[in-house]
Symmetry: C2
Subunit: 241 residues, 2 copies
Amino acid sequence: MKSITLVSGGMDSVTLMYQLHSQEAEQLILSFYYGQKHTKELDGAAALSKGLGLDQLIIDIDDYGLAIKGCALTDYRKDVPHGHYEAETMRDTVVPGRNAVMLSIAWGLAASCGADLVSCAVHSGDHYIYPDCRPEFISALSGALALGTKGHAKDTLKINTPFIKMTKGDICSLGASLDVPLQRTWTCYEGGSVHCGECGSCIERQEAFIIAGVDDPTTYLVKHDASHISELKRISSHAGI
Amino acid sequence: MKSITLVSGGMDSVTLMYQLHSQEAEQLILSFYYGQKHTKELDGAAALSKGLGLDQLIIDIDDYGLAIKGCALTDYRKDVPHGHYEAETMRDTVVPGRNAVMLSIAWGLAASCGADLVSCAVHSGDHYIYPDCRPEFISALSGALALGTKGHAKDTLKINTPFIKMTKGDICSLGASLDVPLQRTWTCYEGGSVHCGECGSCIERQEAFIIAGVDDPTTYLVKHDASHISELKRISSHAGI
């Protein structure tokens, strides 16, 4: 079983890479530079794939990312919004077409080398804000890409999204159980040297560790007040839920 | 009406650019460097879009193109096959996923700037060899991309393929009627300084001029024997067909 695995360097995709590795899948790791301010995520992707002895390609598509107007992840004139993913301001972190572009490139490479899977770590927490992480999109794109490479890819090639119904808390638990070095994964959207702790992505990361009951090894510039989550867990635990 | 128009620099896409210009569409021209040997096509795309006063972006995705194994358009160890498009050897000119990648990038940019169309000059002659030029692929991809940018693109955004049922001969006629400087368009897959005349793309070009009854201004290294086409035209004309 050969997988082209999209690995950004974040907790989700790195856990997916480790999971596939534990299942003895052959993998080519694909990472993308699309002009994101947080290129630091690519350091983790490179180091951790190398650590597992996997080949990695970093594909530069920054001409595309930098041509997108008004996206807070790529436009240095625009601040990365702080707050929860559900907030309206988080719309600014959408890079229109990003997953379609990355998955299409991965699919093309998968076709050319006869791979069985294009693996991608989208999860249920992504669905609200990012339309290109939703199951209906993944399914439609997979069908389109199969038509577009008919006769040039394995008929069974598919987009593999094992985390699509999982929460980030579930992924954190899984990562811990697979001994993923979670401290080396990178989540923050800011371009800083440590996690800011306040962007939507950092807040979701902190909550995931708390919900999973896994010690958070991350250094945050500002620690998110997650007492509501801790309280919820305390009550649940007390009630034996 | 604003269109993101894919223009390679070939006869088809340049004619499309001119047609949309004649219809007074606002256009952003998108061209791609994907590692193709025939970068010469990009010269025409740049000069001709500039000539119409249109903005052009050249998007570099060569990390993708060069990672594709065994493609004669990008792999310098592999010769560009000569002969008709229908020949089995022409399979080597397929770049798996290419149109999905380019159209996804164009769609993302279209979403970010509120465009109405992503325009692309696929035509009926492409369908046989290139699965990603077929109507069923374009339709499926369009549906997937709309899902993937829901809430971030115009609901009416679509992939516009006005030539999809036309032949290259039809496009050549249309180009001539629109005063497209066809001599400045580039078709050949080889990396030479003049058209080779023998690759599938050059043969199709020569036949298109003959079928359209348009003087072919192109310099070919080797002229294709298209007497069967001329004969067909002579008989048709004689019979008043």
